[in-house]
């Protein structure tokens, strides 16, 4: 906040999509030399505001002023030429091209009409040196980590004399060290007078770097606050618009006694199940009403275990028994027939069908389990869909909106509803809360607790240990594609202990293996 005049002012911005009011009368200001966090739940309108600003969408009402002049960009290229550059969550670079070329493609320095490669490389090195990045600019971008790719994208963005740099969830795939490196660069750019608009789901990061915070909720402006004057708890309240009652609701969920739960025949019992190259042999039982958490690092084999349970991959060896009877889960159809549902971690690629409506997406799995020859009556569909939209508070509460127009958190809820409608006896949830905001996260956690109270077995996979520990009766720990321990979630188990198990890989004596 070095300057008193904003470089960017958005006033009275409104934008609607068919069936969704994405932004309503939103004001936003950005000053030179500040990092400004744009906060809000999924579906609050953050992405829409950015896309409106960069000209991906037109606006229905309102004005955008950049450096005192009213602007309406026709697209990202025009916006970046005017000094408004964006770096997206998914790194948008061409993996086959070199680092240098990715920075300059579209505006390569030329000599006699030919691309001047020497100059391209020299300027790329110069630019990356400014970001303190010492890498081989002639190597393909694909040969570097996501973090480095992110930096390359930023280098591309700031090369065009950017006044405004928009970072749309740049940290979601970075580790702590990489985030620190990114922050250092952000501070440096801020000190050079660039205005940075920063979108993230991580509250700690906001307090680590942002000078001011603008909060959106349901497409409307809640307010603009200096970071120092807005405690974290107040921020969360402003984002979700509730007094945190949802979050507290979860804590009330009492852990039931594992011994009592595991009395009797397990719903699913697998022994020495394995698949070459995916998971080493493991045994696991899941009882009705039990939540089994699957903890472990990314790539430790969590998803692979889930896929074996659902028959999405075939096991090489091992036995599976459902309700005490041997069952070969060779494909998803057999798994669904036996009452197993699977919410994939990759909801875009493997779950949601973006062009179908909320209703159609929800009905899919139920229809599949009935067979295509027995259509579900429309009245029954309406009842079900209405019930679940309400139960999961899906916004907008309109069954006919294409799922594409919903935010990530709401898409996740639609996917959940799809499986809940089939009333599965075991629901496998693979990272159901990844990439969604704190409010929706709490709602989904609460729902899992309710489902298990109602007698449903749940296999819950998450990278967030707190979440796993809060919900699970039993935690299975994965390490290097091997199930190294199964811990009964009693008072002796906490995040540290699970972390130790992940790190050391030695099954403890208490492990019920």
């Amino acid at each position: 906040m070095t300057d008193s005049r904003p470089v960017l002012t958005m006033t009275g911005i409104s934008k609607s999509f068919p069936g969704v009011r994405a932004l309503h009368n939103v004001d936003f200001r950005l000053f030179p030399g500040e990092v400004h966090a744009l906060m809000g739940e999924n579906g609050a309108g953050k992405s829409t505001l950015i896309k409106v600003l960069t000209g991906v969408y037109g606006i229905d009402a309102g004005t955008i002023t950049l450096s005192g002049e009213q602007v309406a960009f026709s697209g990202p290229m025009q916006a970046s030429a005017a000094g408004v550059s964006t770096v997206y969550q998914e790194v948008n670079l061409c993996p086959n091209l070199s680092v240098a070329e990715n920075i300059f493609i579209g505006r390569e320095p030329r000599r006699f009409g030919a691309v001047h490669w020497g100059e391209v490389r020299r300027r790329a090195r110069q630019l990356l040196a400014r970001l303190d990045l010492d890498i081989d600019v002639t190597a393909p971008v694909a040969s570097y980590s996501l973090a480095v790719q992110q930096m390359v994208a930023i280098a591309r963005a700031i090369d065009v004399q950017a006044q405004v740099l928009i970072l749309d969830e740049p940290t979601s795939s970075l580790d702590a060290g990489e985030v620190a490196q990114l922050f250092r660069i952000m501070r440096q750019l801020r000190d050079e007078g660039i205005a940075i608009l920063f979108v993230t789901h991580f509250l700690d990061q906001v307090y680590g770097i942002a000078d001011r915070i603008t909060v959106l909720r349901n497409g409307t402006l809640v307010g603009e606050y200096p970071t120092a004057e807005l405690p974290q708890l107040a921020l969360v309240e402003k984002m979700i618009g509730k007094e945190l009652d949802v979050l507290e609701g979860i804590e009330e969920h009492s852990r039931r006694d594992l011994a009592a739960l595991e009395d009797g025949t397990p719903f699913v019992e697998v022994s020495q199940l394995s698949r070459k190259g995916a998971v080493a042999p493991f045994s696991l039982t899941i009882h009705a009403g039990e939540v089994v958490g699957l903890a472990g690092l990314l790539g430790s084999g969590r998803t692979e275990v889930a896929r074996l349970f659902f028959g999405a991959d075939r096991a090489d060896r091992g036995e599976v028994a459902v309700s005490g009877k041997p069952a070969g889960l060779r494909n998803p159809v057999q798994a669904i027939e036996r009452g197993i549902g699977f919410c994939s971690e990759n909801r875009r690629a493997e779950g949601i069908i973006p062009d179908l409506s909320v209703r159609e997406n929800m009905i899919l799995a139920m229809q599949a389990s009935r067979g295509w020859l027995r259509p579900i009556p429309r009245r029954r569909q309406d009842e079900l869909v209405e019930q679940y939209i309400k139960a999961l508070s899906i916004r907008p509460a309109n069954p006919d909106v294409p799922v594409r127009n919903l935010s990530g958190g709401n898409q996740q809820k639609v996917l959940l509803a799809r499986w809940l409608i089939t009333e599965p006896r075991l629901l496998i949830l693979d990272e159901p809360t990844r990439g969604i905001d704190v409010g929706a996260k709490a709602e989904i956690q609460k729902l899992v607790a309710q489902l298990s109270d109602g007698g449903m077995a749940v296999l819950f996979i998450s990278a967030e240990l707190e979440e796993v520990l809060r919900l699970s009766h039993k935690v299975a720990v994965m390490r290097d594609r091997e199930m190294v321990a199964q811990l009964s979630n009693d008072d002796t188990v906490d995040a540290d202990r699970v972390m130790q198990t992940i790190a050391s890989g030695t099954p403890r004596e208490e492990a019920t293996r």
Binding site: P76, C94, L97, G106
Partner: protein, 329 residues
């Protein structure tokens, strides 16, 4: 055409992965040539190589155009028919007495026009290149028979001159005019791909079209341009073929598009786009030509053996590309 490697700088020491397929093709070519030389005395005559170029000059030009298309991740099935149509239209217009220059201009315009239209259909209506260019293939082939269902001879002075033109050394080795034209096309194409924005955009789109769009590159213009370039190359190829045969025949170059695709892929260009070089395509065409020559030299083998060997090679190459993992998507 090591010029394209300038993007990665002088880095021969660590051998970038994307150069591997081209080098493998080069090694294959040298092995095949070695076999030829060791088996047949006459094979070592430099004229054997020249003849490969003379016989395949038009194929090389068309393959250059196809390389552009495949680099963006597309495919152009219309090339064989456009080659035939260009030759056919030239023969027909010459027969009807139009001036030579005008015939050349018209013949060279038809291919790019069709390519431009196909490119527009593919980009603006978001259609599969496979199906659009299949339609183009049927259309152009149909036009050939529409003009005449019999072969039309060419007696025009310019055509016969070009047909007989030879440039060679005192020992009697020579190349034809077609070879010089083909070389010129290769050099221009290699320059365009390595040193112009159009060329770099071609690679970018092949690498990740979504990113290319968000990076603000002219995706529409580039997509349409590659099909237009492929059409132009097919037209030049058609003219070269008519120099070679001095006629236009409705059923010539049937299935040629498949030879061309095979040559480009064997030359190391990845079918999903984003990786490959014109130099590789030249090698791919040479591999095809040397196989033909080897089988001709043998004398006892049926010419169908050419197809069998190409089939085997093509299969081996796509497997190989998958194995070394040149696939960025």
């Amino acid at each position: 055409m090591t010029s394209t490697s300038l993007t990665t700088g002088p880095s021969w020491a660590r051998l970038p992965r994307r150069h591997v397929p081209v080098l493998v093709t080069l090694a294959l070519l040298l092995v095949m040539y070695g076999i030829g030389v060791s088996q047949y005395r006459a094979f070592s005559n430099i004229q054997v190589i020249f003849n490969v170029f003379i016989d395949n000059g038009f194929l090389l030009v068309v393959a250059v155009g196809m390389t552009f298309v495949i680099l963006t991740g597309g495919i152009d099935l219309s090339v064989g028919s456009v080659v035939a149509m260009t030759a056919m239209v030239s023969a027909w217009l010459l027969q009807s007495g139009l001036p030579t220059l005008l015939v050349l201009v018209i013949a060279l315009l038809i291919g790019p026009t069709l390519g431009f239209l196909m490119g527009c259909a593919i980009h603006f209506f978001d259609l599969q290149p496979f199906i659009v260019t299949l339609a183009g293939m049927f259309f152009a082939r149909g036009m050939c028979t529409f003009i005449s269902d019999a072969s039309i001879p060419i007696t025009d002075g310019f055509w016969t001159t070009m047909s007989q033109y030879r440039i060679g050394d005192p020992r009697g080795n020579f190349v034809s005019a077609s070879v010089l034209i083909a070389f010129a096309v290769v050099l221009v194409a290699a320059y365009v791909l390595a040193y112009t924005r159009l060329g770099r955009n071609v690679y970018a789109i092949g690498g990740n079209p979504q990113s290319a769009l968000l990076m603000g590159l002219p995706v529409a213009r580039t997509r349409i341009a590659v099909y237009t370039i492929s059409g132009l190359c097919s037209a030049i190829g058609g003219i070269l073929l008519s120099f070679y045969t001095l006629s236009g025949a409705p059923l010539i170059a049937v299935g040629m598009e498949l030879d061309v695709i095979a040559a480009v892929v064997i030359g190391g260009t990845v079918l999903t786009g984003g990786s490959g070089y014109i130099f590789g395509t030249v090698l791919g065409v040479l591999v095809l030509g040397v196989i033909q020559t080897l089988i001709t030299f043998d004398g006892g083998l049926s010419s169908w053996w050419t197809k069998i060997v190409i089939g085997g090679l093509l299969f081996a190459f796509i497997l190989f590309q998958r194995l070394i993992g040149i696939r960025y998507k």
